[in-house]
Symmetry: C2
Subunit: 366 residues, 2 copies
């Protein structure tokens, strides 16, 4: 049905009407006091959602922009980086580090698995001269639906002394991620996920330790420059003209998150994901990540039943039931489909998705 | 009056209701065929507005992001850059070039003046070893309201052999700028100006000659990478999740520009600016750029009358007449105010602004 699609992809995610209407207002001047008040509220609420006392910068960019902003403000050519790769988004960190001329080593886990903390510890213990400057990792791997044991991994990185640079794009605002308590050095996220607004904004926060490394960065990014961002943050503004309407949307969405309560938001994501997983198993389908201890509560990857193809499932779900789910990426293309329960998703939505998926499978099995 | 502000700043500019409503719809998946069709239309129409056969990339960023994208895909450390500076935005090119480790030389004109083509010719003729790789310049200088003689300047740069890298942020879609006919090598723009949509998107097109220089760039940008952007452009998509709702807005706005006709759009901007300038002179105020041959038809800078301050004019225009005009920047702060007639501005708006400005001045003179 036209204009009826419900997005269950891992971003963009459904946007509340209250947010859409706020976004649809005429833009106001980005250097006005009215807009500064909005930015200030966003800054304050972003700290709550990031669970940090550090400044959280708002960039006008995709989430990948914030990843670039992280490494582009820390790396000098030749620096050693260790990238923990459990999927495409972990791989992206490695690519960005290489683009800055870093020497990149990786620890890879099979897709569908998480990083084993022991493997990380062994590798970092072997770095006796402390040459590894940065370890990049992904909290929730969007391409597989796996959540890394972030707290443990970050603690091991901290013991070694390297900086932990964490992609929280599909976790912040959906899964618990305590930047300060867990001692994460750089944490980034994007707007079109747990934040319930359309794509176009990205966020970054850095620890004091990361700021010291930034000071040693010879040629930091210009557009994404941390020092510029910090100066502007202190004045409740942004260095360059930001996406004004998206920031107004963010302000509204953050208000909704704070109203619901961060713990309640996390609980809702957990409940929705568990219900989805249970329903999928009950209809005889197989989960790509059966291990409950690492299964994402934001994105659930599902294997198609024997004799039914992923493209057919996606097509039927979309054409007959107005539900959009994602295909697998790269090697996992047509092998799994991915259902997001990320952001503005209620129990009713999960029931709807389960009913539609069941009807789809029945239809396709004939 | 609440929510009644009319923006006459040089961006964000007024957004048509048709565009706001398109933008307010639920986001759709950025990898869907529906969205590819939208991107394709934008790509085609952007070429028309840029007056080029080159691909025009859509970046999710501020205009400054596209400036970074221009130099960050061309420069190696130590490269020689000549920056033509007639205001803050010309200065920004020089800052970005330095951030990439370039050796930057400048030609400056007094603020309120344009670059004299003779000065450029003399400087480039002196570069007998052709060491200057890139000349950066601004088509329309937003901070002063001056339009450079772009066609002439670009021709001189072409004769020398350097690349011309042009900021068209407040010119494209407002002032005539023929990328291919004038042989501009890199041309960038931003969404919240002539394009009549809110901030958050930026555009970049590069000539074949610029692409050859890009191939020599050792460490090109990651987020803004041209080669990635080109590959995605060919598939009517973007490398990273774009600002979906802003692209839907862009699609609508470009349709409006094409409907009106590009020449009609330029004529409207010229007529509006000339009417505004005439009205301002008639009420006894002084124009900051009296020279008609270089006065911008997008932004008009005005000196306050004796005994009346710029902040008071801006405050009264906003509080009593719901019109927002911009202050001067840096050294020009409180010395001039700037009125944008950029984008979705009609003759009625100019009359309204003149009437309100006249009433403001009368009120303040007491």
């Amino acid at each position: 049905m036209k204009d009826k699609d419900f997005l269950m992809i891992p971003g963009p995610t459904p946007v509340p009407e209250r947010v859409l209407l706020a976004m649809a207002k005429h833009p106001i001047g980005h250097r006005s006091s009215e807009f500064s008040a909005i930015i200030k509220r966003c800054h304050d609420n972003l700290k709550k959602v990031f669970q940090t006392k550090n400044d959280v910068f708002i960039y006008t960019s995709s989430g990948t922009g914030a990843m670039d902003a992280a490494l582009g403000n820390l790396l000098n050519r030749g620096d050693k980086v260790l990238s923990l790769v459990i999927g495409n988004f972990g791989e992206r960190w490695a690519k960005i580090a290489k683009a800055y001329g870093a020497q990149v080593d990786t620890i890879k886990a099979d897709f569908g698995k998480a990083i084993n903390p022991e493997d990380l510890k062994t590798r970092l213990d072997a770095d006796v001269n402390k040459e590894i400057k940065i370890v990049t990792l992904t909290h929730n791997e969007t391409s597989t639906g796996v959540t890394n044991p972030l707290k443990e991994l970050v603690a091991i990185i901290k013991d070694h002394g390297a900086l932990s640079v964490v992609d929280g794009i599909t976790s912040i605002g959906a899964l618990d991620c305590k930047m300060d308590e867990w001692d994460i050095d750089v944490l980034i996220s994007g707007s079109q996920k747990g934040f319930m607004i359309p794509p176009g904004l990205a966020f970054l926060a850095a620890s004091e330790k990361a700021w010291k490394v930034h000071e040693q960065c010879e040629y930091p990014n210009f557009y994404f420059n941390w020092s510029q961002a910090k100066k502007s943050h202190a004045a409740d503004t942004t260095p360059w003209t930001p996406a004004v309407n998206l920031i107004v949307a963010l302000d509204t969405a953050l208000e909704m998150i704070i109203e619901e309560g961060l713990d309640e938001v996390f609980k809702r994501h957990t409940n929705n994901a568990l219900m989805l997983r249970e329903g999928i198993k009950n209809m005889g389908l197989e989960l790509f990540v059966p291990d409950e201890s690492i299964a994402s509560h934001a994105i659930t990857s599902v294997l198609p039943p024997h004799g039914v193809s992923v493209p057919d499932i996606r097509k039927t779900l979309k054409n007959d039931y107005d539900i959009v789910v994602a295909n697998g990426q790269n090697d996992l293309k047509d092998k799994i489909f991915r259902m997001g329960t990320l952001g503005y998703v209620s129990e009713r939505d999960v029931l709807t998705a389960l009913a539609s998926l069941e009807a789809t499978i029945k239809k396709l099995k004939g």
